[in-house]
Amino acid sequence: MSDKNKNWPLWEVFIRSRQGLGHKHVGSLHAADAEMAIGNARDVYTRRQEGVSIWVVPADKIIASAPEDSDALFDPANDKIYRHPTFYVLPDEVNHM
């Protein structure tokens, strides 16, 4: 049966679906090296022209924010409604602003 040290590492896959759009995370796969990861990503995630460019990143190299920190990271923006245009009430006569 499988020996842990013999398993191919995990890669996260990001695909640009067409020129003009950013790469988007689509899933992960296992591959022995980066080159194989690109080849496998092509076979697994772009069988129907879903992409024009592929990024693969070793899964253990990704640094993510922790859900516990969400409040500290994202809440402060909640009370800064003046950052949104709807905060400012303008006279009806003003158009195109």
Partner: protein, 312 residues
């Protein structure tokens, strides 16, 4: 469960009840995680084992076009398995362990793939009915509360409708053919009809996991509801091309607006589920052989990658 755990659990249930999504690093109850690991990995195994009955006919497809179509379909099923293993791994399990459980016979996969594919018409019946039932089961999973599973299912469902259509088109073509071809199509329907209806699982009276999974938005509709939909959808499709559904109790019910249909053979259902179907052993042997035969490739690729790394 201590007080904090209980509070987290309550918050979780309330959050999920609002139809919100859970992502891999979020807190989740153990039961939720376990249920998902079991369901997603079983689902992945089913996609992988599901390649076998159809793989059996790739070399014998009746035309080059049918061969490339079947090849593409089987390749999609491999892809589905991989999307799903990827989703399962976000829950903190190792793919190699999941595959070990499949190979050792510890893990389950869909019983439908323990039936043999005897003729070319089976490729029609499988695409039309087996993929058809799978779609019926899978579409609601695109809205599952667990993000990675829902996203994987969205990809899967996008690809499935081609599978069902190519199957029905095989049946259509056979039904336009000679008497032998028509008989072959009818025979395939006769053998695959009931197993396809069994794919929805035990009847609601005997289903064990359902209510908790409904609360967690992992499951949206009951087994019997989905099975009824499959029958209602498929009967007219069969009639349209002159096939007869092998069920003497089948009849349209004006009052309910649904078809009434006969009782499933639950003895056979349990028998195949517990490992005594016609192909249970053959399927596991084929998977084990493929895994063992590929061992040297996996090792060689890793050795090559390591050698390249040390050179850099």
């Amino acid at each position: 469960m201590n007080a904090t755990q209980e509070k987290l659990r309550e918050e979780f249930d309330a959050y999920v009840a609002k139809d919100k999504k859970i992502e891999p690093k979020d807190w989740m109850p153990d039961g939720y995680r376990k249920t998902l690991i079991r369901q997603i990995s079983q689902h992945a195994h089913s996609e992988v084992v599901g390649m076998l009955p159809e793989g059996n006919w790739i070399t014998r497809a009746p035309s080059l076009q049918r061969k490339v179509i079947l090849l593409a379909k089987v390749q999609d099923e491999a892809g589905h398995g991989l999307y799903l293993y990827s989703a399962a791994e976000t829950l903190g399990v190792d793919r190699a362990d999941l595959i070990d459980d499949l190979l050792s016979g510890k893990a389950k996969y869909s019983s439908i793939f323990n039936y043999p594919s005897l003729t070319w018409a089976d490729m029609g019946a499988i695409g039309w009915l087996v993929d058809g039932s799978a779609i019926m089961n899978q579409v609601p999973l695109c809205r599952c509360s667990y993000g990675p599973y829902a996203r994987a299912m969205t990809r899967v469902c996008r690809e499935e409708s081609f599978h069902q259509r190519q199957g029905y088109s095989i049946m259509m073509e056979l039904m336009k053919g000679t008497k032998d071809q028509i008989d072959m199509a009818q025979d395939a329907l006769n053998r695959w009809w009931w197993p396809s209806l069994m794919m929805f699982g035990p009847s609601d009276k005997n289903s064990t996991h359902s209510s908790q999974n409904m609360k967690w938005n992992i499951k949206r509709f009951s087994n019997d509801e989905l099975r009824q939909r499959m029958v209602d959808m498929t009967v007219p499709q069969a009639e349209l091309i002159g096939l007869k559904i092998p069920d003497p109790d089948l009849k349209w019910n004006e009052d309910t607006g649904h078809y009434d249909f006969g009782e499933i053979d639950w003895v056979e259902f349990n028998n195949v589920l517990s490992g005594n179907g016609p192909c249970n052993n053959e399927r596991l042997e084929a998977r084990n052989k493929a895994h063992d035969d590929g061992a040297w490739v996996r090792e060689a690729a890793l050795a090559y990658a390591e050698k390249k790394k040390t050179k850099e």
